[in-house]
């Protein structure tokens, strides 16, 4: 969702299938996307090509870009575990705005979807509305 809207804001046509499927190749429509995706996959899998992927990425985005990419991989490893471990529901606004994307990418088939889709209670959000994320 945030990839799509931020890409649109930047004038990019983002390919979400390439973004989310490691079996597909390409840059997903994002500058240096191929290098970023190769690094993210190698880091998440702790695969033998991580050092090469790291060096290749640093060559195109610089050392601070590499740092930001590593930080993103790392924090989403935590966010996934927090979300799945506490069974939080997708916020209603996000749920309604991502119907087509989730269906197209098969995300509704993930086990964690059961916390939101078909759950005993409708997705709820804060009584004050969502005003930010850790802001």
């Amino acid at each position: 969702m945030l990839l799509s809207v931020s890409g649109e804001k930047a004038g990019l046509v983002v390919d979400l299938e390439v973004a989310t499927d490691a079996a597909k190749t390409g840059d997903a429509g994002v500058p240096h996307g191929a290098e970023l995706l190769a690094f993210a996959t190698a880091a998440n899998r702790r695969s033998d090509d991580l050092a090469q992927a790291r060096a290749t990425l640093e060559a195109v985005v610089g050392s601070e870009g590499l740092l930001e990419a590593a930080a993103t991989v790392a924090i989403f490893n935590g966010l996934v575990r927090v979300a799945d471990g506490t069974g939080i529901q997708l916020d209603p606004s996000m749920l309604t705005s991502t119907v087509a994307t989730r269906a197209a990418l098969g995300i509704d088939l993930f086990k964690g979807a059961a916390s939101t889709i078909g759950a005993p209670t409708e997705p709820r959000q804060d009584v004050n509305g969502v005003q930010g994320l850790f802001a």
Partner: protein
Amino acid sequence: MGNVEELIDSVLAAGASSLVAAGDWLTGTQRKAAALEARDARTNDLDQQRRRAISPNAVSGGHGSIGDLRAEAVEVVHRIASDPGRITRDWADQAIEVLGEETYTELVGIAACTATIDMFAWATTDRDADLEDAVAGEPTNERPDGVGDVGAWVSQSMGSGMANVSRSLSLVPVTNSAWVGLVQAMYSRGPEFLDLEWKRALSRPQVELVAARTTAELECFY
């Protein structure tokens, strides 16, 4: 680069320190044991068998207690660390019934912080992060006011105006403080999060691309 590097380094150090210090309902010794079990889950035989099985419940056996960290707690940490995408409400409810929702939530936070800290170290240096010796002290043993049922498996804060993921560990304030520090420094950076055009070394779409691939690798619906 100095500011970003220093910002991330400082929260990683604080996060690592929190993993060995007394928390909400667990001691520093218990928290460090849980963190090491979360790390062990990457290569643990039982966890790998479960990962390969069509259902983790198809594999018999379980994890035993470690020191004064009871077996049910060890089990929670291993599952959160190794196979978060296939956790079910029934499984969580059983664990919560035994451990209590506060301790369960603290264990989720420990597994998440460990995953974050170790992954950053691995992504940048091919090794896990260093953890200091456990620090003596007593947990706060305090359930915060203003938490309740907001549709998740555990109680969370009500009235904060934050997205559900932002309040997911609000039941355990000590653990949540370290966790939110990590998220702030490594991703959201306060009000900047709401801006779709970041002035960072990576653009917002580049950051979200890395995030999308990571969540897909871990099969996370949220």
